[in-house]
């Protein structure tokens, strides 16, 4: 067969995304249950979402410790009994804290839900926070923090967030592993009481959903529990004036980590879809300008990314890389050079079209399969958006012009609006 390898095969554009809205059910206690059915494997994933992240916590670590303590005991079961039940039925149980919301997640075979859901319900309602498990966890997390403190990449990123938000802000990572020494079990437990309430929860179930799954969820999670008390939430913070340049010394580093960026519009801002496109051009995919320049042409780094990160209350732009020690200032110079170029030159169609297509493919991925769809739905809910956001995103990716991209760069990528954090050895 005579193949012409010089001419690419015909290209078909992404013709549309099948959204499939979740089905919404209300449990008798008012809890919203969303279900997304698909897939042939008899597996379900159930996410219990609580507005209980560090944004709501009295001190940052309380929220994380509360999440991790959930499976360490209930009023009637000890940690070992709980662990044995999950393990025996091959279930994956996790409880994760984040900046805004906390997720308790169960992934299990359908056939074991009758044994597993009562246990999850018990954990959500009656976690007992035993002292000895708390001390074990405290040591474990403190050790992890000590190791993390040796990683220049994490040190730079955490320093970066502290610089933008200010020490003590719920989005600013804790600086010292010693913070674990002063944690109080009573505060952690209080955080649980305040925020793991049925009226602060929603449930997203995805995978092999049938009426028996819905009935089982209703049977186990329709009680009302927890009481609101007079907790005050952190609804207003004054953000500090961020420093332009910070150097964090880490003796004996082999590479320096750089974190460059600023406060940035978050996901619900009208400019966000365009900024997503702009950040992708700059450093959001393998062929991005930063990757091409700093990695592929100069070999200063193994990887460099630019990402717009959205919290519920704030957003940031973060450009991050671990770079060759003796090329640190050159790498930073190239970052600013590439940002500046976006504010001056118009992007060519030849560069823009593949990026648009690439981004449309990523959207298709966000809806590929039940778990991805549920994840996408949950992350939109985090910021009070729905699938309309994607309609807007697709439209923006398709119609944004090079002039509009340059205008966004001029507005948001000004060199003097950036902060630069270096962690490593000078």
């Amino acid at each position: 067969m005579n193949l012409n390898r010089n001419t690419p095969p015909q290209i078909y554009s992404v013709d549309g995304v099948e959204y499939i809205e979740p089905k919404s059910h209300a449990l008798s206690n008012g809890v919203e249950l969303f279900t997304m059915k698909s897939g042939d494997q008899e597996v379900v994933k159930i996410d219990f979402m609580f507005k209980a992240g560090s944004w709501y916590a009295k001190s940052r670590l309380d929220s994380m410790m509360a999440a991790l303590m959930l499976q360490e005991g209930t009023e009637t079961l000890n940690a070992s009994q709980i662990a044995n039940t999950f393990d025996f039925f091959g279930a994956q149980f996790s409880s994760n804290s984040s900046y805004d919301n906390n997720y308790v997640t169960l992934v299990a075979l359908n056939k074991y839900l009758p044994e597993l859901l009562p246990l999850v319900s018990d954990i959500l309602r009656n976690a007992s926070f035993p002292e000895s498990e708390f001390e074990i966890l405290r040591q474990k997390r403190k050790q992890k923090a000590l190791v993390d403190a040796e990683r220049v990449g994490l040190v730079a990123q955490r320093g970066f967030l502290r610089n933008l938000f200010g020490e003590g802000h719920p989005y600013a990572p804790v600086a010292s592993p010693a913070a674990y020494d002063t944690l109080l079990l009573s505060d952690v437990k209080q955080h649980y009481r305040n925020f793991y309430r049925s009226d602060n929860m929603s449930i997203i179930a995805s995978g092999f959903i049938d009426s028996s799954v819905i009935d089982l969820i209703a049977a186990n999670f329709s009680l009302s529990w927890g009481e609101k008390d007079s907790v005050t939430t952190n609804d207003s913070y004054r953000l500090p004036k961020a420093q332009k340049s910070i150097y964090i010394e880490k003796e004996g580093a082999n590479q320096n980590a750089i974190a460059i960026g600023k406060l940035f519009p978050k996901q619900d801002h009208p400019d966000f879809p365009g900024l997503k496109l702009l950040c992708t051009i700059l450093g959001g995919y393998f062929g991005s300008r930063l990757m091409t320049n700093v990695r592929e042409e100069k070999g200063y780094t193994y990887g460099i990314q630019a990402s717009p990160i959205s919290f519920q209350q704030e957003g940031v732009l973060l450009i991050f890389a671990e770079v060759k020690m003796d090329k640190t200032s050159e790498a930073i110079k190239e970052v600013f050079y590439e940002m500046d170029r976006l504010t001056k030159e118009l992007i060519t169609e030849e560069e823009l079209i593949p990026i648009q297509n690439y981004l449309l493919g990523r959207i298709l991925e966000d809806f590929d399969g039940p778990f991805a769809r549920a994840q996408t739905f949950a992350s939109l809910r985090e910021v009070d958006l729905d699938f309309d956001y994607y309609t807007k995103l697709i439209e923006t990716f398709k119609i944004t012009t090079p002039q509009q991209i340059r205008a966004l760069a001029k507005k948001y990528l000004k060199a003097d609006s950036m902060s630069t954090i270096i962690a490593g050895t000078k």
Binding site: M1, L3, R5, P8, P9, I11, Y12, V14, E18, D40, Q41, E42, V43, A79, S80, I82, A83, N84, F86, D87, F88, F89, G90, A91, I136, Q139, K140, Q143, L146, V147, A149, E150, R151, V152, E251, G252, A253, N254, Q255, G287, R295, E296, G299, Y300, T301, Y302, E322, V323, K324, P354, N357, Y358, L360, G361, R362, L364, E365, D368, G369, F371
Partner: protein, 413 residues
């Protein structure tokens, strides 16, 4: 159950197709039977460097990324000690673009001096980022070197030293390609939303004309039986003391593999495992402890590791975990424990059947291993394991003289 069809093209390329209608995508996954174990001891890290180089385009294609992005796809690759695996995922109607790219990689990348120079730098930065600039980053270098004296598993895929990567020449690059990147040394898996017939037809169209090549793989020297325990102690600028204890075990196709895997799960898989309950929570010796298999194709390692809790005597902690493992050489594990770890394997198997790309990679790696049917039959092997077999396997692996101990101590203490 993962349904698939398999044919072999006349040039020796094995083609496997798995249809999954639940996704709008297809994956084109090409796995070459070459990894770090095929490297010469003076050119370690070469297979992985080579993986980087092949993204630099071909005679016909300027670069791989733009055409992939242009059709809404993604591509990537990884190298292990056993294999090098490339994949492209695209919306299903763009399958030909993915086949065009991957088949052209097999026809022959364009190797330029500039490409080699830059990728050498990138890989050396990867070496720094992952192995030199990260606490405990040299663990695998130390442990492999201690446990293996002749088998090429004695170095990790990144290589023994950045120097080997610095010294790689263009001639070596070309020779490596010619003798390893051939249709008769590879497996192509197409999975996702496509008709099987169409997938086979397109595989023939794009890959069928690539000539067979002579595979020049030097014989891999197998590790002789270890007869004396070994121990190495290092001090590093890390905050916490830790250790690794590694015993040699059988290969991935050894019938004992399943019992060894279940044994490691009984000892430390999950929060209800023996190590977690007795030593982490009960005696509070460790903040983290784990027992796991290195999971390679040739005979691998059975490994115990732990990070010591504050104030715990290092040797006492390490010996406790070894002693806990040794108990299984004498006393049978309980039926309840055995059932628990088998249930876990079964659930994981079902979880793994979701995701067209993961399935493609698994099919490829089982085919390279020599038995693609294992993807569906391995659960039966696990189910058949008895408590007696587990005790026998424990006795075989944890025998005196088979142990390699790495003490990784904190310099700051």
């Amino acid at each position: 159950m993962i349904a698939f069809e398999k044919i072999t093209l006349s040039n020796g390329l094995r083609v496997i197709v798995h249809v999954d209608r639940s996704t709008p995508f297809v994956a084109v996954n090409v796995c070459y039977h070459v990894g770090a174990k095929n490297e010469s001891p003076t050119r370690t890290g070469f297979a992985h460097l080579f993986e980087h180089l092949t993204f630099g385009g071909t005679k016909h294609i300027r670069d791989f990324d733009t055409p992939t992005q242009n059709v809404g796809g993604t591509n990537n690759a990884f190298t292990t000690n056993d294999i090098t695996n490339y994949y492209i995922t695209v919306p299903a109607n763009n399958i030909e673009t993915a086949l065009w790219l991957e088949s052209d990689r097999m026809v022959g990348p364009k190797f330029t001096k500039k490409g080699l120079d830059v990728q050498r730098n990138v890989v050396i930065e990867e070496f720094r980022q992952r192995n030199l600039n990260r606490p405990y980053g040299d663990t695998w270098h130390l442990l492999r070197d201690l446990a293996y004296k002749v088998h090429p598993y004695r170095w990790p895929t990144i290589g023994l030293t950045p120097q080997h990567i610095e010294e790689a020449t263009m001639e070596e690059v070309k020779e490596f390609f010619f003798h390893h990147y051939a249709p008769n040394n590879a497996v192509l898996v197409i999975s996702g939303n496509i008709d099987a017939d169409k997938a086979f037809t397109l595989a023939e169209k794009w890959f069928g004309g690539i000539p067979q090549r002579e595979i020049k793989s030097h014989l891999i020297v197998q590790e002789p039986l270890q007869t004396e325990d070994r121990e190495l102690t290092v001090q590093r600028a890390v905050p916490i003391d830790c250790f690794y204890v590694a015993w040699h075990m059988g290969s991935r196709l050894d019938p004992d593999y399943y019992a060894a895997d279940l044994l490691s799960d009984i000892l430390s898989g999950g929060n209800s495992s023996r190590i977690e309950e007795k030593l982490v929570k009960g005696e509070k010796l460790f903040t983290e402890a784990d027992i796991f298999l290195s999971g390679e194709n040739d005979p691998g390692l059975f490994i115990a590791t732990g990070k010591l809790n504050e104030g715990v005597d290092f040797n006492l902690g390490r010996e406790k975990i070894v002693a806990e493992a040794m108990k299984t050489t004498e006393t049978l594990v309980t039926e309840k424990e055995l059932e628990k770890v088998k249930n876990k394997i079964e659930a994981e198997q079902v979880f793994n059947e979701i995701g067209y790309l993961e399935k493609a990679m698994q099919l490829a790696s089982f085919e390279i291993l020599g038995d693609v049917d294992l993807i569906n039959t391995q659960l039966d092997h696990y189910r058949a394991v008895t408590a007696d077999q587990i005790r026998l396997v424990a006795e075989k692996i944890l025998r005196p003289g088979n142990k390699n101990t790495l003490n990784y101590l904190s310099l700051t203490k």
